[in-house]
């Protein structure tokens, strides 16, 4: 009985992680788009983005730890930390490890943002667009519940939310109110010849 509790926990925590991670990605995109309204200031988007990200890590830790200590799959810590080293569902589990490690890099650099500077932080933060889809594929590939109706609905909702937000971001130009004067200025500077 206690064994199956671990197994149910890892499945449940995986699903919760997917929902939270998708919410974090959507909040991140909304903050880049400078979405705001009278009831929704910009610092709320950023605050939710950061705090939900930390909460995601908690459920992800639960997902990973319960999967490792569950005696049924007998994974071992190596399989949880080294991609594609698992004897159990090597590819699908490996994708989960890759998504987790990318996410870890994103979170650690965010916590150290003051040390590494904005540009390095931002470059690493783009890895989100690798980590999130890999996590979704991992869920579909290895998820014991992947083809149950409720998880298909949840996953589809996550894909729809992140997809809509990402598409909207791609189609929206710069949100900098001085974007066009900046571009003009830079073009003017580059045209000048050295004496």
């Amino acid at each position: 009985m206690s064994n199956s509790i671990l197994w149910y926990t890892t499945r449940g925590a995986g699903a919760v992680t997917l929902v939270l991670l998708s919410a974090v990605v959507v909040m991140g995109i909304l903050s880049a788009l400078r979405v705001q309204s009278t009831g929704w200031p910009r610092f709320l988007t950023t605050g939710l983005h950061r705090n939900l990200a930390l909460m995601t890590l908690v459920f992800l830790a639960l997902h990973i730890v319960t999967a490792v200590i569950d005696p049924f799959t007998n994974l071992g810590w190596g399989a949880a930390l080294i991609p594609f080293s698992s004897h159990y569902r090597t590819l699908w589990l490996g994708l989960g490890v890759v998504a987790f490690e990318l996410l870890l890099a994103i979170v650690v650099t965010s916590l150290l943002r003051n040390l590494i500077g904005h540009y390095a932080w931002r470059a690493i933060h783009w890895l989100t667009y690798a980590s999130w889809p890999i996590a979704v594929v991992h869920g579909f590939g290895t998820g014991t519940d992947a083809w149950s109706a409720w998880l298909i609905v949840v996953t589809a909702a996550c894909i729809a939310a992140v997809g809509t937000a990402a598409l909207y971001r791609m189609l929206t130009g710069s949100t900098d109110p001085l974007a066009s004067p900046r571009t003009e200025f830079r073009a003017g500077v580059q045209r000048r010849e050295l004496p």
Binding site: R34, R42, F43, T46, R113, D176, P177
Partner: protein, 74 residues
């Protein structure tokens, strides 16, 4: 000598997200393009926690504390 802190904005990094003015309207207002105008002088003691939050929440790390030292009564 007492240590005091003022707010300073890096005009190159700032791209007018406006979170700072939401979090610290007592000291920061936005110009017509959405870029911050910061009240001169040291941050009043009771506003330091809010100022800290504004600095931490700047999405482009453009807002910072600057330490200023001044002699008492000076």
């Amino acid at each position: 000598m007492t240590k005091e802190f003022a707010l300073t904005v890096d005009r190159i990094k700032c791209d007018g997200r406006g979170l700072c003015a939401e979090l610290l309207p007592e000291m920061i207002r936005l110009d017509e393009w959405g870029y911050p105008i910061i009240a001169a002088g040291p941050i009043p003691q009771h506003l330091i926690p809010l100022a800290q939050r504004a600095v931490e929440d700047c999405p482009v790390l453009a807002l910072a504390f600057r330490r200023t030292e001044r002699s008492k009564g000076g």
